[in-house]
């Protein structure tokens, strides 16, 4: 960093990059950064980074974004050379793989993106696909209509999975920070050792949400009725003169939520996390009802939801564990309860990945539930980028508000939304 002039000119471009990444950077920050760089010089890269981070990044999340942009922007010459070499090598390898695919004749009918996805596959995966194509080569010659389509569909499926993996890799960049990383990771991929950490994060975030709710409640205007007791007591401080009038607060009505949780094997962890989140919210905790379902429906008592072990034992004991998922049957039972569980003042929240037997029946039952309840919200643990490829998600999303909750961050955002319903 021997040429300060060059870096000063670059600062405005750097500010622009930060803006593009979502940081609120004003000219004031750039002016401050310039002032501080003149004061500390450019010799120590780490010091420059810390100083600029102090000015530009205003939260922990922003610090991580800043670090990424800084490291990408202010590269040392050695780093730039290495990165260019690596990139060139990687591009060459991908091109070679695509050429190989074209020569083998299997590229016909594949889009450019699919061919690129093939190029990024590992040697082993490419070999497996090629072997599969060779195995059915003779069959394809005998019956081209049947086997060409079959081979193409297998290729397309493998390539789609590879494309999803590439997208996942790009999304996981926040994982560099162990504390924040867990917020952005897929809940279903948490290991056993990460669960206590996740629970403690849920506790922290729900405390934050409760804090926001309290603040919001306090901001609410008064009911218009004078609070005589408080006014008179306060007036005593000023010799019986009433400088400040105090009013009674508006009564706050808690949300009535009905939660329908899928507790089949793949959904167990997500349901437990989501329930924990929602139960932690003061605003909804004492007025919600929780139902667990697989093929049938059971109402959970609040005590059984207090911790993960109790929850899991309860699910196993009540007999819903290990069975298939039949949302239609569960919703029909829920709608037929007497006295009614759903009415115009309730919000029905469904925690499910949309995988169910007898989808048409489930859709009909959902329509009935929507008619009975004031509102239906679906919390879906499948990442949103996969939704276009899953038919059941598309079908159910047209009938209700579906919110993606694949990560704790998204789950927290969904809970914030629930409390504002």
């Amino acid at each position: 960093m021997a040429e300060p002039q060059v870096y000063l000119e670059k600062l405005s471009a750097f500010s622009r990059m930060l803006q593009l990444q979502g940081l609120a950077v004003s000219p004031k920050e750039t002016a401050d950064a310039t002032q501080i760089l003149i004061a500390i010089g450019f010799e120590d890269r780490q010091q420059v980074k810390t100083a600029l981070r102090t000015i530009y990044a205003k939260s922990r999340d922003q610090q991580l974004i800043f670090d990424r942009v800084f490291d990408g922007f202010f590269l040392s010459e050695e780093q730039m050379r290495q990165q260019a070499q690596q990139q060139a090598q990687q591009d060459r390898q991908i091109q070679e793989n695509i050429e190989q695919l074209r020569k083998s004749g299997h590229a016909d009918g594949l889009t450019e993106e699919q061919q690129y996805a093939f190029g990024t596959m590992s040697e082993e995966e490419r070999q497996r696909l090629q072997e599969f194509a060779e195995k059915y080569k003779e069959n394809a010659k005998r019956n081209p209509n049947l086997y060409s389509n079959f081979i193409h569909s297998v290729f397309a499926k493998a390539l789609l999975e590879q494309q999803m993996r590439l997208e996942d890799a790009a999304v996981g960049c926040e994982g560099a920070d162990p504390e924040l990383g867990i917020l952005y990771r897929d809940i279903s991929q948490f290991s056993d050792v990460e669960i206590p950490k996740a629970i403690s994060i849920i506790q922290t975030i729900s405390n934050q949400i409760n804090g926001e709710l309290t603040a919001k409640r306090n901001r609410k205007t008064h009911s218009g009725k004078l609070d005589f007791r408080r006014t008179i007591r306060k007036g005593l401080e000023t010799g019986g003169r009433f400088y400040h009038l105090h009013y009674k607060r508006k009564p706050s009505r808690r949300k009535r939520l009905v939660l329908l949780c899928d507790v089949s094997g793949s959904m167990m962890q997500f349901s437990e996390f989501a329930l924990r989140f929602i139960q932690n919210l003061n605003q909804v905790s004492d007025s919600s009802r929780v139902f667990l379902f697989s093929e049938e429906i059971y109402e959970a008592d609040p005590f059984s939801l207090q911790n993960m072990d109790l929850f899991r034992n309860y699910v196993k004991e009540c007999g819903v564990y290990g069975k298939g998922t039949d949302l239609g049957a569960a919703l029909e039972q829920l709608c037929s309860f007497n006295p009614k569980a759903l009415n115009q003042y309730t919000t029905l929240i469904i925690l499910s990945d949309t995988k169910t037997i007898n989808q048409p029946r489930a859709m009909e039952a959902l329509l009935e539930a929507k008619r009975q309840a004031g509102r239906v919200i679906w919390l879906n643990p499948i990442p949103q980028r996969h939704w276009p490829h899953i038919r059941s998600v598309q079908a159910f999303a047209t009938l209700c508000t579906m919110i993606c909750c694949s990560t704790l961050q998204e789950l927290a955002a969904a809970c914030r939304r629930l409390t504002s319903v």
Partner: protein, 297 residues
């Protein structure tokens, strides 16, 4: 003041810091920006303000935030009782205009921390502690002071700062702070110290305590903090209290028994005690193996 000078002053204040902290403090000082510090409870956020007051040789003015804090507690309040007395005494001797004017003068103004910090002749360090506990209205009210270093009092007018205080705001992130407030501040996030820094703090603050015991305490605290099952992580102050307590009890070796007897200094709830008991059963010694296992059994 350059960064080396700041480091020297912090050294003189017997404060253990790293390069990042020194740079951040220097940047905030150089730009005259308030410094917003976030981090878990007990990582030493408040301590930074105290150390800066000592290093810069300034008075520390502290405003502890809480829900419902308003400008009458933070900025100023009229001394109503004194005003009422004055009205009673001067009712016949002064005209009503004169009387009214005299009632809203400095004599009847009760300075609260914010006003005190900007009206001080000598610059001070202003600590606004746990800003996340205050309401959003109070945050908005602070904006004028933090950006313009002035406050407006309806009866008096705008009061500009006689001296510019070094403002430190701390937050435990109980609720997110507004973008407007963040934009006006330099930002620092602190985490719990690593083993090396914790040991340095113990050595600096408790020079009379045996070095071997300090190392065992530091290691045990690091282990407890990394244990995900511990709900309330031990703070730096608790580490210091614990080491001092062990020393006062004449304990020279952190055995499982010693840990059990004095755990109340670092763990503050029953669930955490149970976790400690369980980990003691499995590992037998919470000094993390630092003892070399010679006191086991």
């Amino acid at each position: 003041m350059d960064i080396q000078e700041l480091k020297q002053k912090m050294d003189q204040a017997n404060y253990i810091y790293d390069e990042t902290l020194a740079t951040v403090l220097y940047v905030a000082l150089q730009l005259g920006r308030p410094l917003l510090i976030e981090g878990a409870a007990g990582v030493g956020k408040t301590e930074i303000a105290k150390v800066m007051a000592s290093a810069l040789d300034r008075d520390l003015v502290r405003l502890q935030c809480y829900e419902g804090l308003d400008e009458s507690k933070a900025l100023y309040e009229w001394n109503y009782q004194k005003q009422l007395l004055s009205i009673q005494i001067n009712m016949g001797s002064q005209s009503s205009d004169e009387l009214t004017r005299s009632l809203f003068s400095d004599e009847y103004l009760l300075e609260r921390p914010l006003l005190q910090s900007i009206r001080s002749e000598k610059p001070v360090v202003l600590l606004i502690d746990e800003i996340d506990k205050a309401d959003e209205e109070f945050e908005a009210f602070l904006l004028e002071m933090l950006s313009e270093m002035q406050v407006s009092i309806p009866e008096v007018g705008t009061i500009r700062a006689k001296s510019v205080p070094f403002v430190v705001l701390t937050s435990n992130r109980a609720r997110p702070l507004s973008e407007a407030l963040r934009r006006r501040c330099a930002y620092l996030y602190i985490q719990y110290p690593d083993m090396e820094k914790e040991l340095s703090i113990l050595r600096a603050k408790l020079p009379h305590v045996d070095d071997r015991l300090c190392a065992q305490v530091a290691l045990a605290v690091q282990k407890l903090r990394s244990n995900e099952a511990i709900l309330k992580k031990p703070s730096i102050a608790e580490t210091l209290d614990w080491a001092a307590a062990l020393d006062a009890l004449g304990i020279r070796e952190l055995t499982p028994d010693a840990l059990r007897q004095t755990a109340g200094f670092i763990l503050k709830n029953n669930e955490d005690f149970k976790v400690l008991e369980e980990s003691n059963h499995t590992h037998e010694c919470s000094c993390g193996g630092h003892c070399g296992g010679h006191h086991h059994g």
